[in-house]
Structure formats: structure tokens, C-alpha cells
Amino acid sequence: MARADEVVIEIEDAVVSYREDVALRGVSLTVRRGEFVGIIGPNGAGKTTLLTLVNGLGRLLSGRVRVLGKPLAPRNAHHIRTRVGYVAQVQDIDPRMPITVREVVMIGRYGRLGPFHRPTQADRDVVERMIELVGMSPLADRPIGHLSGGEQQRTAIARALAQEPDIFLLDEPTAFLDWRAQREILDLVQEIHRRQRLTTLFVTHDLNALPRCDRVVLMKDGLIQGEGRAGAVLRNEVLSELYGTPITLIEHAGRQVVLS
């Protein structure tokens, strides 16, 4: 059984570049099992690139990445990805796309199953459980393209959880959603972490869309500018400096609200 304080993500001095642009210029980050880490910063800070290092989609120019105790290399990236759930922003899906919610969630099992293996009853049970968990049971047979953005994100979360992952990555999952859907997705993510203690990395530029985190990492210009417990980091002067614009945090109904 995995130890509670086991290091599951270890990034050392990572440099990543896309053509001329350097997306990460020497970033180091260690994440332990069960942690909920928020990664915030302005657009173009390298937050998404940092996430893609964890599931082996990003290409490392120099530095070292170890995920779940193994050095990440193109050779084992597929295997590691089967153990890392990933949810991106709501996607633009053709309403006529011939695939149902249940089938989309089942895709989460496909990587683990590998080629030539058909889903078993156990796989179907996991899928139903995850659909239930995100509250999508009434819509399980609907074509995915017919759903609202919030419902599509619930489906994406169920799909990622159907992988029964060791690490859960969320990249601006509430972008483009309306207020209610945003709140529901954030509550859902928090509830999942509370129940499963799943190691979670949550990226957002929008501070109002940041769930309660164990730790917050501040990113800007391809570097980690600072990190610490939410209470220590989420302060007016720190955030104003990070975003380059005056930011005021206020407490309202037990939640921090950001004004800029």
C-alpha cells in the first residue's frame, strides 16, 4: 500500500520550449500523495505546460521528471498516462457526434484495458459508479454533444476518474462555464478530493475559480514565483505582484472573493 507521504510527482529544473518561446525556464516542483495543489498565474505563465509534463504530453528540453516513482520517458508515457486523469477546458463538441455520455466515460477505461481487450462487467461497473458520482446518471444515454458545458465537464471528470487514476490533473476546468456550473464543478472537484484523497493539481488563472487547496503555486513567465499554504500566499500584495494589477481579496460567507 502506498505511503501517505510518498512523493508522486518530482519535477527538477524542467525547461520546455515551443519553437522560439520558452514555456518553462527551470521549474522544480514536488507533490506528495493526497495533496491538493492549486497552480495560479496570468495567461502564458507556463501552468498548462507544467501539467503536460506530468502526463508526458510535454517535451522536456532539459531537467528531470519522475511520476509515480518512474522517470517519464516516451517509452513509458502511455503507461503513466493510464494512471493520470486529465480534464481540460470544456471542448467544442459537434452536437451530432455519435457518442453517448456512457461511452465517453468508458474511454477512460480503454487506456488501461489496452488493445484487443473488451470492457468487462467490472469496467462497466466502474463507469456506472463514476457517472453516478458526478450526478450524470439521468443523462448517461444522451449524446455528449447535446449537453451543456457544465454537464460536459462532469462527464470529462467521470471519464478521468474512470481511469482510477493516481493523479488527477485539472486545467481550467471551469473556463467558459456560467456561474452556477462553475460552482458545481468546483464543489464536485473538492468533494472528490475529500472522499478519495486523490493527488490533485488544479490550474487556473481565475482566482475565483480556485478551490480550497493544501498548497498554492504561483507561476509567471515560465517560472515558479513562490509557493506555500493558501493562507500565506493568497494575499493582496503577493497576487497584485503576480498579476501585475492591483488585486483585493475579501472574505464573504467563508469564501475568499477576488476583486481587481
Partner: protein, 274 residues
């Protein structure tokens, strides 16, 4: 005539099955480019004196090998790159045709196809490719479903999505190569896209999508042959017109036309509509 009926069946099933990939992944333009590459390759074969099938296969694979990474990396707008490659292939085709001495019957045959004079060798090739396409779809259905739904999602769950994507391009190239002699280089693409596009209007199940698409493909081929036989007109052209008509009818009667009017009522989780 028996050979023609069999060729229409095999070509119809193979083309309309790869058509499902093309339509689902919205890469029609890549498909057009591949079929014109095959056409140019076949003409080069006819010009220089090697088997046009070999030329077509080599060119369509080459085009797929160029397009795949372009579409993959997003280095620059793939539409632009495919447009350039497409016009190059068309230009090469006409260049090779222009260089041919004497009457260009073989070239015109490749352009329009000649399902009525299909040879046993053509039939065997068609049968092999058709069987391979169907077998691979059955064997890799779940991977194909994931990749055609969303390539990034497929990759993120640990499916070798790039390999599958390239395999699908390769299969499309092979199918085009095997069937262009019967259907014709210029017309083959309609037989790839029309049946799949028609089926796409009618179902929300991917399994049914494959079956309906194959059904429409074969129906287009057989109806086209019948009409061309009755009125003594070019079969390739009639097959395309029939497949387009099937698409038009499917679109008119599509239950998906009402999609826009759907509301997410009674879910308890739907976000408020804008």
C-alpha cells in the same frame, strides 16, 4: 457485369468505412488530398511504365506521411499546408498527363475509372483491402472510437492516439489506392465521404454509423451500376450522383436537424441556458 457488381460491393464497403474516420475526424480535406495524390502517383506509373497501383499507393502514403505531422504539431495552419499539397498533387497529375505521348486513354481511364472492365487482379486487391479495413475496425473499435471522438482525450487516457491516427490515414490511402481504378481518381472521394456523411445524419451510435455507411456505399455502387447500365452512361459519375442523392435525403430526414431546439430540461445539473 458480375465482376462490376462485386467491385461495387467491395469498393463501397471499404470506401464508406474509411469515410467514417474522415467524417468523424473532420478531415475531409486531408482525404481529398490523399485521393489526388493517389491519382498523381497512378499517372506517374502510367507515364514511366510501372504499375499505376504501386504509384498510387506510394504517393498516397507519402502524402499521408507529410500531412500527418502537419496536422499533429500545429506548426503552421494545417489547412494551408494541405491546400498547397493538394494543388501540387493536382498540378503533378496534369503534368504527368501532359507528358504522355499519344492518346491518353489510360490516363482518362484512371480519371473516370472503369468499373465495367475491372480485372480479377483489381478484385483481389479490393477484396484484401476491404477485408483488412473491416477486420481492423472490428479489432480496434474502441481505440478508433476514442481517437475519432477526440484525439487529445484518447492520448490523455493512455491510448497510442498518434499511432491510431496514422494507421487511419494509412488505411484511407490504401483504400483509395485499391478502388480508384474502378471508381476513378476524380470521383473516388465522393464515395468515401457521401455515405459516411449521410449515415452521420441518422444515428448517434458509432456501430450503426459504420453499418449504415457501408450500406449506403454499396447501395450507391449498385444503384449507380444499374442506372448506368439502363441508360448507357458513365458508371463512376452515376455512382457519385446517387451517393450524393442519398446524402441529401438523409440530411432532409435527419433527426439531428432538431438538435438545436433541444433543451436540457429536468436534469437537475444543467447549467442555466444563456
Amino acid at each position: 457485369m458480375q465482376n462490376a457488381i462485386l467491385a461495387a460491393f467491395l469498393g463501397g464497403v471499404a470506401c464508406s468505412t474509411v469515410g467514417v474516420f474522415v467524417v468523424m475526424m473532420r478531415i475531409s480535406f486531408i482525404g481529398v488530398c490523399l485521393s489526388h495524390a493517389a491519382f498523381a502517383g497512378a499517372l506517374l506509373g502510367a507515364l514511366v511504365g510501372f504499375n499505376p497501383v504501386v504509384g498510387a499507393f506510394a504517393f498516397s502514403l507519402l502524402a499521408a506521411a507529410v500531412i500527418g505531422p502537419l496536422a499533429d504539431r500545429g506548426e503552421f495552419n494545417p489547412d494551408t499546408a494541405i491546400g498547397i499539397l493538394f494543388s501540387l498533387m493536382l498540378g503533378l497529375a496534369f503534368l504527368f498527363m501532359g507528358l504522355m505521348p499519344g492518346p491518353r486513354t489510360q490516363a482518362l481511364g484512371l480519371l473516370w475509372g472503369s468499373i465495367l472492365t475491372v480485372t480479377n487482379a483489381d478484385l483481389i486487391l479490393l477484396a484484401v483491402v476491404c477485408a483488412s479495413v473491416v477486420a481492423l475496425v472490428v479489432l480496434f473499435f474502441k481505440e478508433i472510437q476514442a481517437v475519432t471522438f477526440h484525439r487529445e482525450v484518447a492520448m490523455a487516457v493512455g491510448i497510442p492516439a498518434s499511432a491510431i491516427f496514422y494507421a487511419l490515414l494509412f488505411l484511407t490511402g490504401a483504400t483509395i489506392t485499391a478502388s480508384f481504378r474502378t471508381i476513378g481518381g476524380l470521383l473516388i472521394f465522393s464515395l468515401i465521404i457521401n455515405p459516411a456523411a449521410a449515415a452521420y445524419q441518422l444515428t448517434y451510435s458509432m456501430k450503426r454509423l459504420f453499418c449504415l455507411s457501408a450500406l449506403f456505399g454499396v447501395l450507391s455502387g449498385w444503384l449507380g451500376l444499374l442506372i448506368s447500365y439502363l441508360f448507357n452512361i458513365p458508371s463512376g459519375a452515376v455512382i457519385i450522383v446517387v451517393s450524393t442523392l442519398i446524402f441529401a435525403v438523409a440530411t432532409i430526414f435527419s433527426p439531428k436537424r432538431k438538435v438545436k431546439g433541444l433543451s436540457n430540461v429536468g436534469t437537475g445539473f444543467s447549467s442555466a441556458a444563456d
